[in-house]
């Protein structure tokens, strides 16, 4: 079909949609039209996995698009009126937030309409004699512990790749000359000690230790320094806590061998511990999709379809030639990863996304750490928006522009979320009519719009993001990210890179120091309910609107209520998180007796096994051998273990033990066994990816949030106002200051 015909058809389709969107209808006709469209969406979304499911999927998206366009057309044409200037400002603010959400929604629908599923390539598929590129693995570090680094370095050394072509480098920014010559004697001592310990560790493991003179440009500067001291054709960048599986290079390098124009192969960041929302509130790490599953399982694949998947800072392979072409990683923003990908896409190079979890990392344990991480992302993306302007960057295709804009604009959500949180209160408390519509119009226009948005979200992200979970995450971030973004808007070059704190252990549960603003919003919402009842009683003419706004406030209240549950930090004493396993093994007793057992969970530090029909009396401190087949190493391994705890259950016992890893061979075996198998990560992820209905998600969330919230409130009351504030001052004030600064 000639190009002009395509353009003509596209223009005609746009004209038809615009005509239908702007067609004036009364509420009844609109209700009928919306019902028809929602019916189409329903049919379309239930036709997945049938023949022509792509057609039905697009049909559903298209119907949703039309509903939303009609809603926006109605809003702009009939509802942007007010009696006074303050109300008018409120009206326009709400409408601006809706426009923003709709733009994001349309772009999201386009980006994720057909997520790409790449084949899993392997080096073994190449004929013998194919030349493989040399690889430098770079692990930038700033303040991570040697124990944590040792696991990552060992795993990196064990990746399956020809020995002579693989080199591992620890890029230490905590032992730089600048730090060692610091004016503060304590810092100087710490830096010196760190450098000594890490150099010894690197020597023991056969890793190259690299540091530099000055701590310039944070992680990006550190990697650039690493680039200057190495010469591998491919660069693997891993965060200090990101442990690769043995097949990482096996599945990523083939893309570079096959395509000369590929500059990046990105893989998912698989988190082996729950983030604060999962740990403190939902307690659903193994049952519900994780927060980043939505991005790595759906959105990155969608971006990949449009050749716009981007570098996420770690768990990726880059081609040195291309990186050097743009002068290294450091750019104008603190999210140098996305910026680097943007620059290289602009030059016409390609990125690939391989959606197999082959790098296991740590999510921030505390809410403070979580916020630090998210503020950095929000600031970095805003910097890219302001300094790089992807929407008009020459060299990018139109779909790449949309892909980048979709990813970047998402981070402006704090504005919209805060407006949606506070708008009902503006009406309930102050009588500002920020949303002018009758009940009939709301039923005809607003309700189908809201239903369509949830249906489209379910269609696009149903398996990897449950309904209502996004709202909780956004409410938790919006206040802090808003301040961070305003700082960037006022001075785009000001933000500095902040390292996300990870690997924290929490000796006792405590209320997050960032909880105070949420108390204020919580009590404002309670006040809003009281004012709403008053309004309903004394203003009979606006009862319809009052009921609608009260429902809106109730929805917001549930999100804020759930957020309070997250703000009670739970105790976390395990140094390395344990992941479930179910593999057959055997335990060898000191007298050479062999007992068959099943692995129940594993971490880099230890294991829990179940032994059926066990008679022996195990005691804490006893030494045993674990004999198990390692998929990562494709052979059996024997690791010494020391019993830490024994639990007797009906007809079986469970033994908790730690790996005894004084010997390097045993330490390698323990790391390979616990962290080296991508099949286990994939298996774990697939168990928790499932689609649930809106009402089931609502029921699950409502069921889970009560307990943490009441525990939070109970602790807050018990601590008392004075003690509470004292607690703040003593423990966390400095931390809060750093974040809000």
């Amino acid at each position: 079909m000639p190009g002009s015909l395509h353009v003509g058809l596209f223009a005609a389709a746009c004209a038809m949609i615009a005509g239908f969107a702007l067609l004036p209808m009364d509420s009844l006709a609109q209700m009928v039209a919306a019902t028809v469209l929602l019916g189409l969406m329903w049919i379309g979304q239930s036709a997945t996995h049938l023949r022509n499911d792509d057609f039905f999927r697009l049909l559903a998206l298209f119907a949703g698009l039309v509903i939303n366009l009609r809603y926006l057309a109605w809003r702009s044409e009939y509802t942007l009126v007010a009696n006074d200037i303050i109300s008018l400002a409120g009206v326009y603010l709400v409408f601006a937030a809706e426009i923003y959400s709709s733009i994001l929604h349309f772009m999201g629908a386009m980006v994720n309409a057909a997520p790409m599923k790449r084949p899993l390539l392997s080096l073994a598929d190449f004929p013998p004699g194919v030349r493989l590129p040399s690889v430098d693995v770079m692990i930038p570090s700033y303040n991570e512990s040697p124990e944590l680094l040792e696991i990552t370095l060992r795993a990196a050394r064990m990746m399956r790749y020809p020995d002579e072509k693989l080199r591992v480098h620890l890029l230490d920014d905590g032992g730089t000359a600048e730090k060692i010559n610091s004016a503060d004697p304590a810092s100087r001592e710490r830096a010196l000690e760190r450098r000594k310990v890490l150099q010894a560790l690197c020597e023991r493991l056969g890793v190259n230790y690299i540091t530099r003179a000055r701590n310039e440009r944070a992680k990006a500067g550190n990697v650039n320094n690493g680039l200057e001291h190495t010469d591998g054709e491919l660069i693997v960048i891993l965060d200090a806590d990101h442990v690769p599986t043995t097949d990482f290079l096996d599945h990523t390098v083939p893309w570079f061998v096959r395509h000369d124009d590929v500059f990046l192969v990105q893989t998912p960041h698989f988190m082996i511990n729950p983030d604060p929302v999962e740990r403190n509130l939902l307690q659903s790490f193994g049952r519900m999709p994780s927060e980043n599953d939505m991005f790595y399982q759906t959105i990155q694949r969608g971006l990949d379809f449009w050749s716009a998947s981007f570098f996420c800072g770690s768990a990726a392979v880059l081609r040195r030639r291309h990186i050097e072409e743009i002068g290294g990683l450091a750019g104008h923003s603190i999210t140098e990863d996305a910026e680097c990908a943007l620059d290289l896409h602009r030059r016409g190079y390609r990125s690939i996304y391989v959606d197999r979890p082959m790098v296991a990392g740590l999510a921030p344990e505390t809410f403070t750490g979580f916020i630090v991480q998210r503020m950095r992302w929000a600031q970095g993306m805003t910097q890219i928006l302001l300094l790089k302007r992807p929407f008009m960057e020459p060299g990018l295709s139109w779909h790449q522009r949309i892909g980048y804009m979709s990813s970047i604009l998402f981070w402006l959500f704090p504005f919209a979320r805060l407006i949606f949180l506070l708008s009902p209160l503006a009406y309930l408390l102050f009588g500002l009519e920020v949303y002018n519509a009758s009940m009939r119009e709301i039923l005809a226009f607003t309700l189908p719009h809201v239903i369509a948005i949830y249906m489209i979200s379910g269609l696009l992200f149903g398996r990897t993001r449950w309904p209502l979970v996004s709202e909780i995450y956004e409410v938790l971030q919006c206040l802090f990210s808003l301040i961070a973004i305003i700082n960037v808007l006022s001075n785009p070059r000001k933000p500095a890179f902040m390292v996300t704190p990870k690997g924290d252990m929490l000796d006792e549960g405590f209320i997050s120091p960032l909880a105070r603003p949420f108390y204020a919003i919580f009590f404002l919402m309670l006040l809003g309910f009281a004012a709403g009842v008053y309004r309903w009683w004394f203003y009979p003419l606006t009862r319809d609107l009052t009921v609608v706004v009260l429902l809106w406030n109730l929805f917001n209240f549930v999100s804020v209520f759930a957020a309070l549950g997250v703000l009670l930090e739970r105790r976390q004493q395990r140094a390395s998180p344990r992941m479930p396993a179910k593999e057959k093994a055997s335990v060898v007793l000191p007298d050479k007796t062999i007992l068959p057992c099943t692995l129940i969970n594993l971490s880099a530090g230890g294991v829990r096994v179940e032994i059926k029909d066990a008679k022996p009396n195990f005691a804490a401190g006893e030494m045993l051998w674990l004999d198990v087949y390692s998929e990562a190493l494709s052979r059996k391994v024997k690791v010494p273990i020391e019993i830490r705890a024994v639990t007797a259950l009906r007809g079986k016992i469970e033994v908790g033990a730690r790996f005894v890893t004084e010997d390097s061979t045993h330490a390698n075996a323990a790391v390979a066994l616990s962290m080296g198998d991508s099949g286990r990560w994939l298996y774990f992820q697939e168990r928790r990816w499932r689609k649930v209905s809106f009402f089931m998600a609502l029921r699950t969330v409502l069921k889970q949030i009560w307990r943490p919230v009441f525990q939070h409130l109970f602790l807050a009351l018990r601590t008392g106002a004075d003690g509470f504030l004292e607690y703040f001052r003593r423990n966390r004030a400095a931390e809060v200051k750093v974040i809000l600064d």
Binding site: V32, I43, A47, A585, I594, D627, E686, R690
Partner: protein, 184 residues
């Protein structure tokens, strides 16, 4: 046949394979495979009978794939019925209340379509319900044996590194008849 990514319903942490062949102490790692058709414990013989064979597992997988396909078709049919019902009802109400003129033909269509849909919709729902129930029953029994059906429609062990037990990828057309043995 297009089979979706994962047909397994159970998402909770699965139980362990209870087969004798999962002995990793053996030097032959190949025999580590879960050759389940030779080792189904007698206590779980409700599905497979006392003499479980590879042929039996093939037959169960065939039933599962048939039910799974039927479940998706009935899910679509049910949604289509509800969609059409809502469209017809709203159209009908609109015609009754607000149609300007010349609406007789639309009115007649609604009058014909509505009763038909009213009759079909509950049937579609019931068929879907029973198909799901029976499919889940088969899936549950596979699960109890430490098996699952993967994205390619193969019966595999329910482990991180699954071993193929039965492969029906050569099946072009799923069977729709469910043998009586399933009701046992």
């Amino acid at each position: 046949m297009d089979v979706p990514e994962d047909l397994t319903l159970e998402n909770e942490a699965p139980s362990c394979v209870s087969s004798k062949e999962t002995d990793v102490n053996s030097d032959q790692n190949v025999t580590r495979l879960y050759s389940c058709w030779e080792s189904i414990p007698p206590s779980q013989g409700a599905m497979y009978g006392n003499q479980t064979s590879k042929a039996n597992l093939h037959s169960q997988l065939r039933i599962f794939l048939g039910l799974d396909h039927r479940m998706r078709v009935t899910a679509f049919l049910r949604s289509a019925c509800w969609g059409m019902l809502s469209v017809s009802l709203s159209n009908f109400l609109f015609l009754l209340q607000a149609a300007p003129h010349s609406y007789e033909s639309w009115f007649v269509i609604s009058v014909i379509v509505l009763p038909v849909i009213f009759i079909i919709t509950p049937f579609a729902g019931i068929i879907h319900y029973w198909t799901c129930k029976r499919r889940n029953e088969v899936a549950r029994r596979f699960f109890e044996q430490g098996l699952r059906v993967d994205g390619q429609g193969r019966l595999v062990t329910d482990t991180a590194h699954p071993q193929v037990v039965c492969d029906f990828s050569s099946f072009q057309k799923p069977p729709y008849s469910v043998p009586q043995s399933l009701h046992a």
